[in-house]
Symmetry: C2
Subunit: 267 residues, 2 copies
DNA sequence: AAGTGGTCTAGACCACTTT
DNA sequence: AAGTGGTCTAGACCACTTC
């Protein structure tokens, strides 16, 4: 229960920000202290990363964490405010604070940016084309931060909307994490793929980085998406990360944008 | 100086959230009250919108605003925290809080998502192809929330990076706002176009919504970007908004993504 | 009634910038 | 030295959920 405990250093907080490494410090140390609430945030993040609190579960109340870490509720609150802004946790008034999960409509659309044009119906279907294990090519290994030749799981699938094949995804996953992932398990599983990763493999995606280009459909893509060779497609290259900025998925999506578009809000 | 003043209603705050419309209210009114800090945020936003504080300028200190609005500093602070998170203002420790402006490297990249691939040099150049006034077609009018046939300024330009034509932009701007905008003024102006809009026309963009598709270059695009007809291009349709969610720019960009990519962070 | 997150206040001290 | 934003505390009450 008490596996998360602050360093002795953390406890030195006086009435104000004495942990911020001011001039009062005895030995002229240096490594740039951070505010107390940042330290608390880090401790909570470590609890998430270690699996002490799993996706969907309730974390301790602000008061509980405050007394555990020997800080005021306001300081815990500020830490959780930031975690909430980063979508790592979800607050629910009257109930508590929960670890974010992909098993919610809310989280789905953060990572599915392709939306139907106005008036276009949208019934999604998934079809797994192929799943196999292979040795990571150099480029894949580099992006997944593993060694070239390490085992990776390769997945190819087609997503259709209202019967129209629209997305061709190729995925590469670190074999060390996704042991026992088969086409059957992918097909059996209802719900978002990131939900399966979370529940079956204990790997929770928290952010992703995408690079988008326009390309022409090659023969393979044309056949699977049932369009002519040369059809312009969005090429979306995504690297997904779990806690600690560890890459856990490389995905190359080809999106048909005749009746759909990639939406993005700039602010 | 005091043009922003709270409603009498706003002043009824007791020691805690009595402005949130609790059961203590005399007449059983209704229209769902908002927290004090949200009301303060709205008042500050109105100051930005009205031009009381212009882009780049200093707004009053937290203490000053607190005493003006008759609330505690903490409440003003929370309001400004949100405005800062929305990039409407920028805080600078020791100096004060400033109205956000597009005359900063910081703000540029929020709205320019096309980045060079690794190792590709990046010296931008602009070339205005054409500027003219015309009557808004129905679709343009709808997106700009003006009447069909109203005057709009049409701009076509090509952006090159290190001598390679890469972006063809078509812009439509409401004629009522952008009076006297000519190709000459666009060419004279050094710096980002949104900076010119802000300084010369008093219109500050705060957010934009984009829809992205893959298309083939038509003859016009092919000629201006010096590629073959049929070259796949990113089609980026953007609507930009100023304060109060008022649309002030419609932009259709065609991006050549042979040596560049549209980058997006999902979180 | 008790517990949780949400809002608000008042006061303290720190770090940074300018005078 | 004075002013600004940044951090931290302690205590109060509200709104919501559960028991």
């Amino acid at each position: 229960m008490n596996s998360i405990t602050p360093n002795a250093q953390t406890l030195s907080a006086g009435p104000a920000g004495s942990a911020t490494g001011g001039t009062s410090s005895a030995v002229g140390a240096s490594p740039t202290f951070s505010p107390l609430y940042q330290q608390i945030k880090l401790l909570i993040t470590q609890g998430l990363q270690s699996g002490e609190w799993k996706p969907g579960e309730l974390i301790p109340s602000e008061m509980e964490l405050a007394s555990r870490f020997k800080v005021s509720q306001g300081t815990v609150r500020k830490a959780i405010d930031e975690l909430s802004a980063e979508n790592l946790v979800v607050r629910r008034q009257g109930k508590g604070t929960f670890v974010a999960t992909h098993h919610e409509a809310r989280a789905q659309f953060r990572f599915l940016r392709l939306a139907p044009d106005e008036g276009v119906p949208h019934y999604p279907e998934n079809k797994i084309i192929e799943v196999r294990r292979l040795r990571a090519p150099a480029e894949v290994a580099r992006l997944l931060d593993i060694k070239s030749g390490d085992s990776v799981v390769f997945i190819r699938r087609v997503q259709s909307f209202s019967g129209v094949p629209t997305i061709l995804d190729d995925l590469w996953l670190p074999g060390a994490i996704f042991k026992g992932l088969t086409a059957e398990r992918l097909n059996e599983y209802k719900g978002p793929m990131y939900g399966l990763f979370e529940t079956e493999f204990g790997t929770h995606m928290i952010r992703a980085s995408e690079q988008i280009r326009a390309v022409c459909a090659d023969e393979v893509a044309a056949q699977l998406l049932q369009v002519d060779v040369g059809m312009p497609l969005l090429n979306v290259e995504r690297v997904s990360f779990t806690y600690g900025d560890k890459p856990v998925e490389l995905r190359r999506g080809l999106y048909l944008t005749l009746q759909h578009h990639y939406r993005n809000e700039l602010s």
